[in-house]
């Protein structure tokens, strides 16, 4: 019925709030706020998350936010993010509250003795304001809030008793603050401590003791003073712990053993501790039967013995990452394959002693594999991947970097066997050429994300097959210098859904391909053209004619592109958010029109 606002007459407040809760982007929420006063009020009631950067006067800002949004449950304060002046609506990021710079006289009014500069960072007073304003806070992240201390955290803990998740990164809080959290926040489930250099075992022991019954996730990374003592407390009190992340040089086997003994429900374990050895892994293997994710990083002393213990004991393992573990070999991987038949994710990164035999075993036993990443694996040859291709029918993502001995034969095997492949990323694998890529194009109909970077032998023929067979969303062919117009034209004609394209460092790519891309891929959002010597303003113009949804464009080191071309990009694409170009290619007029959108290449170091 014309002229009658049914929605506001019939729908009650609660229903409208429920509808607003389904809105996923800040843009949608803002749009709804502007409809009428009632919707403004209701939208504010339904807002649950706030993200704040460094503001001019954080205490005032927090108080303002607390008055305006009363149902906030999650607050993220990241003080690495500087104050940003509202220039373009296009600059707004999702789900973020715009930080308005307050005038300095506001700051000095309320903070008294503190200078205007001091009050730029959240202080204890600000944290107290936060706790008073949002007593029902459930999740809190304080990232590099260098001005807060135990005092503020203690007040927060006393008032926000429903706190479920606490993330402290780069905050110099002391033991009393963390101990207070342990005393008052009995529903705390997730704690993440990173670069908390003021914390010692004393505080952490109190935290473990206080929140032991509720704690599920615990992360201690780069906290220089935390030792095994804290982990022993975790092992003693946190019976329900499911996830532990450790990055420390002063944690030893004793600490990890305590956790393994005390936390039988452990599902996720990430270790980057150079002084932890097989003894700890053996303990995890025998005491943590629920383990689902294990990640071992960097230069640790683990050998096959430890990995074998995991294979024997952790039958539910789904996700395994081995990064820079020099002493691990095929024997260890074989043991994991035999024992962990439910493995879905495997990453082998820089483990120079792991070869094809281990991978063949994985192929034989782990038929549920969905993601495989082999980075810097110089020892692995075709037979390893052929094994995967034969049995892992559910493989969705394959990632290869610097595997110089893997060639077309392996890729053909993967193509024919893993028809559900969605994502294929290959970088610097010089033995892989057109034959392999053609096989992918012919067999992997569900491929949406393809990246072939600096693969010398891949050319147009491969891309033509991909264009015919796969409807790509993302394509990166940076540095594959055999690729020219013919290949990209085929992509333009075959992949109309393409939204991300990187054709940088391609010396044979010219304007014809750009024109075809403009015709064929109107949904392009991000494009990288840097280091393409044959692309000129003409090609750029044809591209921009129809790609009106473009959001980002990188075009440095393109001698054929001039100031005119840059101006075209700015004027044709209303949604553009970022352009990377040489400073001298931006005319004064373009600078005025586009301003904050343009980023400059810095050669003048």
């Amino acid at each position: 019925m014309r002229g009658h606002a049914w929605i506001n007459t019939i729908l009650p407040d609660e229903l409208i709030i429920e509808i607003f809760r389904c809105l996923d982007s800040k843009l949608s929420r803002d749009a709804c706020s502007l409809v009428c006063k009632r919707w403004l009020k209701l939208e504010r009631l339904s807002r649950t998350t706030l993200r704040i950067g460094a503001t001019g006067s954080p205490e005032l800002f927090v108080q303002l936010l607390a008055r305006r949004f009363v149902n906030i449950r999650n607050v993220h304060i990241d003080e690495r993010l500087a104050i940003s002046l509202p220039l373009h609506s296009g600059r707004r990021r999702r789900n973020e509250v715009m930080c308005l710079p307050f005038n300095s006289h506001h700051a000095t009014d309320n903070t008294g003795a503190e200078g205007a500069l001091e009050s730029s960072y959240l202080s204890d007073a600000g944290l107290i304001a936060l706790s008073v304003g949002f007593p029902n806070l459930e999740k809190l992240s304080l990232i590099w809030c260098s001005n807060i201390s135990s005092q503020g955290l203690t007040s927060l803990a006393e008032k926000c008793r429903f706190l479920k998740s606490l993330d402290l990164q780069g905050c110099y809080v002391g033991d009393q603050g963390v101990a207070a959290v342990g005393e008052f926040c009995k529903q705390l489930e997730d704690v993440n401590l990173r670069f908390c250099e003021g914390l010692t075992d004393t505080g952490l022991v109190e935290l473990a003791h206080g929140c032991g019954k509720s704690l599920k996730t615990f992360g201690i990374t780069a906290c220089a003073k935390i030792t095994d003592v804290s982990l022993e407390a975790v092992g003693m009190h946190c019976k329900y712990l499911e996830s532990l992340s450790l990055d420390s040089e002063i944690i030893h086997n004793k600490g990890v053993l305590s956790v393994a003994q005390g936390c039988p429900l452990l599902k996720v374990l990430k270790l980057q501790c150079t002084n932890v050895t097989d003894e700890a892994l053996v303990a995890v293997g025998s005491l943590c039967p629920s383990l689902e994710l294990l990640a071992l990083y960097s230069f640790q002393e683990f050998t096959d013995k430890g990995l074998r213990a995991i294979g024997v004991g952790c039958k539910k393992l789904k996700n395994l990452t081995l990064s820079d573990c020099y002493f691990l070999s095929d024997i260890g991987l074989d043991a994991v394959a035999a024992g962990c038949k439910g493995l879905t994710h495997l990453e082998v990164n820089g483990c120079h002693n792991i070869g094809s035999l281990g991978l063949e075993s994985i192929g034989k036993s782990c038929h549920q594999l969905t993601e495989l990443a082999l980075l810097y694996c110089q020892k692995i040859v075709n037979s390893g991947l052929l094994g995967i291709g034969q049995s892992c029918k559910f493989l969705q993502a394959l990632h290869l970097v610097d595997c110089s001995r893997i060639g077309d034969e392996a890729i053909c095997g993967i193509a024919k066997g893993c028809r559900n492949l969605k994502k294929l990323h290959i970088r610097r694998c010089y033995e892989i050429g057109d034959a392999g890529i053609v096989a992918i194009g012919e067999n992997c109909k569900f491929l949406t994300d393809l990246s072939l970077r600096f693969c010398d032998r891949v050319g147009d023929e491969g891309l033509i097959a991909i264009g015919k067979g796969c409807s790509l969303l993302q394509l990166n062919v940076s540095g594959c210098h055999r690729i020219g117009d013919a290949g990209l034209v085929a992509i333009a004609r075959g992949c109309p859904q393409l939204s991300y394209l990187d054709v940088s460092v391609l010396e044979n790519l010219g304007d014809m391909a750009m024109a075809e891309l403009g015709e064929g891929c109107p949904l392009l959002k991000d494009i990288v053209l840097s280091h393409c010597h044959q692309i000129t303003d003409a090609g750029l113009m044809h591209l921009m004619k129809r790609c009106t949804m473009l959001e980002s464009c990188q075009m440095v080191y393109c001698p054929g592109i001039t100031a005119a071309g840059v101006a075209t990009v700015v004027s044709s694409c209303p949604s553009v958010k970022k352009i990377l170009v040489e400073k001298w290619k931006v005319s004064e007029r373009t600078k005025r029109r586009a301003g904050s959108v343009i980023s400059y290449l810095c050669v003048d170091l």
């Binding site: 600096f454 460092v505 810095c602 050669v603 170091l605």
Partner: protein, 106 residues
């Protein structure tokens, strides 16, 4: 959403490979083959060529050329050994030529 605050990175001038962090610069006052160069404590995504003995302005050194891992462009060199006590601090560090690296404020 991409990181709003990333580390300040230097890239190879020839391709977009990231080779060094601004925070790893030790000195900006070095001389390379083609002009000014920077001394870095760390580099990444590079390969090293064979070791050679070279007479540099500061004396005899054993160096190895540093190539971008993607496009193999020579970006500078790595000091493997220095033969004078005053030059020992350079061992294990990298020279990257100013003309071979760029910084994009992306």
């Amino acid at each position: 959403m991409a990181e709003l605050l990333g580390p300040r990175l230097y890239s190879c001038c020839n391709c977009r490979n990231h080779v060094a962090l601004h925070d790893d610069i030790i000195s900006k006052a070095f001389q390379g083959r083609h002009g000014r160069a920077f001394l870095f404590s760390h580099a990444m995504n590079f390969t090293v060529g064979p070791k050679e003995d070279r007479h540099l302005m500061t004396g005899l050194h054993t160096v190895a050329d540093v190539h971008c891992v993607d496009c193999r462009e020579v970006l500078g060199w790595k000091y493997e050994r220095a033969y004078e006590a005053s030059q020992k601090y350079k061992e294990g560090k990298f020279i990257l030529e100013k003309s071979k690296i760029v910084r994009d404020n992306w």
